[in-house]
């Protein structure tokens, strides 16, 4: 996992709430056995017509949004299926952070384990960001701060361990493996065995 300490980018805005992981990547693209190359399937059925042409009204297809690495989305982003293909597709497309007022639990967990930063902001900040698509934002991941172009600094909540792993580029499997003695002791001491 690549370390993420700061991020500077324009935003692209999808104001719809409850965008589920079937919207982020439809199930028919899940018959893959790798993590790579899913960016082209990102938001596929919202992004493209049936004949494969881009839908000009979809925000990601706006030429001004190309290259934006920060997605501002409606409340409860990433609900539904546990598919990790959702953060894989967002990252492969080039998104490194998503800003919303709330994230579904599994999507948030999956994102943090892949170096995609979920940023939870208050309703007022969220409304402002939705009303100002394409603004340039600066994210200080170490300080958990979002810097708006008008000088406002918004602190966002993030689990301390997740932030540490994100900023150091640490993958959590290595950390878990270091617990193997404790795991062995736990298995031996249990009063019942599964």
């Amino acid at each position: 996992m690549d370390a993420l300490t700061t991020l500077q980018s324009r935003t692209v805005v999808l104001p719809t709430r409850d965008i589920d992981t079937d919207q982020i990547i439809p199930a028919r693209f899940l018959t893959t056995t790798t993590r790579e190359g899913l960016g082209q399937a990102l938001f596929h059925d919202l992004r493209y017509d049936r004949d494969g042409t881009e839908r000009p009204e979809f925000p990601l297809n706006d030429p001004a949004s190309r290259g934006a690495a920060i997605l501002v989305a409606g409340n409860n982003f990433g609900c539904g299926s546990s598919r990790e293909h959702a953060p894989w597709a967002l990252l492969d497309y080039g998104i490194r952070a998503v800003i919303s007022t709330e994230f579904a639990d599994i999507f948030r967990n999956n994102s943090l384990k892949n170096g995609l930063l979920p940023i939870i902001v208050d309703v007022d900040t969220h409304q402002w960001l939705i009303g100002h698509p394409g603004v340039e934002l600066h994210v200080d991941v170490e300080a958990s701060e979002l810097h708006l172009p008008d000088g406002r600094v918004v602190e966002y909540p993030i689990d301390a361990f997740a932030r540490y792993c994100l900023t150091q580029g640490i993958d959590q499997l290595g950390y878990l493996q270091q617990q193997s003695d404790a795991i062995k002791r736990f298995e031996e001491a249990r009063p019942w065995k599964p």
Partner: protein, 466 residues
């Protein structure tokens, strides 16, 4: 007096290997890891890259369900997997299970089926266990008083390699369902009502415990339907305290403890409940006596309405967009909408009692002209039992298709799809845009409502056909 603990807190505490701190999450032990072909290939690849073994293959149970076809065959050898991607996924699953020493209930196994149907069927899902799977509907197994939740593929690798997960403890939410359920109203209607009440994000960050007289009165299959859709309210998990109904269901199943160990397990299991003075972070109450058959009208499971009630209206853009996609008119009941497809099946409603509810409506009746109805058993065992009871003949006589087991039309990735623009009444769990196929319009309902809709050719109240 010490503060009481909830059932969830007891199961959680029983599995903490390393407690959480402000800086680090808890290391939580996992008793049962269910795996399927779609969310595991990248996890096994990670194990291979690092030269790791599966720590406890005997605590891992594998099957194939998501990308497998359900077209009727006389031998499993004739099953034609749709697409090279799916075929490759299935080959990799077989190879991975072979290489890492995991029991696979694959093609040819009489126990193959949807992962959340076979875990309980085999008696592997037991009270007090922690159960995970790379699938959000793992919450199903909470019906047994287990702490069961969905995880991503990276976490699948964590469990394969260490039998543990890094977790922050969720909050608790009590959902009390009092009173008696009226005739013709089912577990599906209870859970759709709850999701409508608390919203699709109402349970985020919480583990739900379903309690009360109406929950106690449900059989295990109905309890599984309730817990299954906990994730549709955003909850991390949903569970129900074990009781005699739970024990009766588990008795004699292949993977339960045997002999003295069974007696010891039963006494431990029956002691698993929330203390009378336990404090939940939040609670919600529902009166079962006031419930009616429910159907969804929008594009998430919280957009739900009584089958005869007018579809509500709202001015916000997301709501209007959903109604536009569904081609549904506010102020009119869903019963005015003609139906193209009816799907009975899935991990929500693909068990024997679900098929019996649908068959009771279809007996002596016909699926309306122009309606395609699929009945997909949740497992090969459900299929066998249904055939012993003659349900397959009831479905065939009515003009419905009787299929092999699998996830089928719940998610359009195995060949079973709903065509663009068509309206499907489905006993599955998600009415998201395109979930059943590009442009498909999904109405979630109980098996009885789905069967009644197939007969009437439009969304219908099953109480009018009994």
């Amino acid at each position: 007096m010490t503060e009481g603990r909830t059932l969830f807190e007891k199961v959680w505490a029983d599995h903490v290997v390393v407690p959480e701190t402000a800086d680090t999450p808890a290391v939580l032990y996992i008793d049962l890891h269910l795996i399927h072909e779609v969310t595991t290939p990248q996890a096994f690849a990670q194990l291979r890259e690092r030269g790791l073994a599966v720590r406890r293959p005997e605590l891992t149970l594998a099957t194939m369900d998501h990308s497998t076809p359900t077209t009727p065959v006389s031998s499993f050898r004739d099953l034609a997997v749709v697409g090279e991607g799916a075929a490759n996924q299935i080959r990799q699953m077989e190879q991975n299970c072979l290489d890492f020493g995991i029991d696979l209930y694959g093609f040819g196994s009489e126990h193959r089926g949807i992962v959340h149907v076979i875990g309980p069927e085999l008696g592997a899902s037991q009270p007090g266990k922690t159960i995970v799977c790379g699938d959000s509907h793992t919450s199903t197994h909470g019906a047994f008083g287990a702490l069961a939740f969905g995880i991503g593929t990276t976490e699948v690798a964590h469990v394969l390699a260490t039998q543990c997960l890094l977790q922050r403890k969720p909050r608790s939410l009590a959902v009390n369902v009092s009173g008696r359920l009226p005739a013709g109203v089912t577990a599906k209607d209870i859970i759709l009502t709850i999701i409508g009440e608390i919203g699709v994000d109402g349970g985020t960050g919480h583990v739900i415990e379903y309690r009360g007289e109406a929950i106690r009165a449900l059989d295990m299959e109905a309890r599984m339907t309730i817990c299954n859709m906990s994730i549709e309210a955003g909850a991390r998990a949903g569970l129900i305290g074990p009781d005699d109904t739970t024990i009766e269901y588990l008795a004699g199943r292949p993977r339960v403890p045997q002999g003295d160990a069974w007696d010891a397990a039963v006494s431990r299991w029956l002691g698993l409940c929330s203390d009378a003075n336990a404090v939940f972070d939040r609670s919600v109450s529902i009166n079962a006596a006031a419930l009616q058959p429910m159907v969804t009208f929008g594009t998430n499971p919280g957009m739900v309405v009584g089958v005869n009630d007018p579809v509500p209206d709202a001015s916000d853009a997301s709501f209007r967009k959903a109604l536009e996609y569904m081609k549904v008119t506010p102020g009119k009941p869903m019963t005015e909408n003609p139906v193209d497809v009816v799907f009975v099946g899935s991990c929500t409603n693909g068990r024997l009692s679900d098929l019996q509810q649908a068959a009771a409506i279809l007996e002596g009746r016909k699926v309306a002209d122009g309606v395609r109805m699929l009945v997909v058993p949740g497992s090969q065992q459900v299929k066998r039992r249904a055939e012993e009871l003659g349900l397959d003949r009831v479905f065939a006589a009515a003009g419905a298709e009787w299929r092999e087991s699998g996830c089928s039309m719940c998610l359009g990735m195995n060949g079973d799809t709903v065509a663009s623009g068509q309206l499907s009444v489905s006993t599955s769990n998600r009415n998201f845009e395109g979930r059943q196929g590009i442009g498909a319009r999904t109405v979630l309902a109980s098996p009885a409502t789905a069967a009644a809709s197939a007969v009437m050719g439009r969304v219908a109240d099953p109480r009018k056909l009994t």
